[in-house]
């Protein structure tokens, strides 16, 4: 039995992007971390729970407005940003510094979310 999760490689490739402080796969309905690759000091469970809730509300809002699926969610804050994409009750969350290249992160996340089935 392997101890490495099926998400380890995609999480590692995401944190290799410049300015990315951490990445997590989170259960959308539970807000619980499935797997993560985080810098020390990042409050993973708290970010995961709140980001999953945010993503879920964004997805439901997009559906209610008749806009279809929520493709990519980005929250810009004073000292950083949180990005999220989801599929099949899993949300891929990236936490990044303001200097991070969101375009590259977005491409990487949309590619990676394919692994969620």
């Amino acid at each position: 039995m392997s101890a490495v999760s099926p998400f380890a490689e995609l999480l590692a490739s995401l944190v290799r992007q410049r300015g990315v402080l951490g990445s997590m796969v989170v259960s959308e309905s539970d807000g619980i971390v499935v797997d993560s690759n985080l810098q020390i000091g990042l409050r993973g469970p708290a970010v995961a729970a709140l980001a999953a809730s945010l993503y879920r509300k964004a997805r439901l809002s997009a559906e209610a407005a008749g806009f279809g699926e929520c493709a990519f969610l980005q929250l810009e804050a004073e000292r950083g940003r949180v990005c999220a994409v989801g599929r099949n009750d899993l949300v891929l969350v990236a936490v990044a510094e303001p200097r991070a290249n969101v375009g590259l992160i977005r491409v990487e996340m949309l590619r990676a979310v394919g692994a969620f089935g």
Binding site: S29, G31, P45, A49
Partner: protein
Amino acid sequence: MSVAVVEGWVEEPLRQFVEDARVLLALLLQPSGQVLAQHGFSRSVDVMSACALAAAIHASSAELGRQLDGRPFAVLHHAGRSRQIFLAPVQTTRGALVCLAVFDAVTSLGLVQLYFAELQARLAKAAAAAAPDAKGPVLAGNFEFELNRNLAVLFGRG
């Protein structure tokens, strides 16, 4: 968010928890089953039943933890089809408490865990600031009297 309490120092921490975590029902009780505060219940008999069951589940899981792991299991989460329960102990200077929360898909286990950690911190702070407990521990002899008194206070009959 309406929260009914027997002891005032638990009111603000529990009210904040209910508001933040968006739980449907919440109970704060002593491990013996004595209720201290509630949110969301409309009948005292339901509070009494929930307290008795929560205290029993907490005692059972704590003992199971001692047998298996050498120390009590702390947090218990049980997911139903549409509702879930979260049961966890809180340590304060005024003694141990147990928190029972019932929630649905409006919130999530992660959010409940997150705000429960804040509830623990707020209760610890409030307990330290509150006046000493003049009543002393509830003993088996006066358990029922105290329970009925607390339920009467919670449901406006005190």
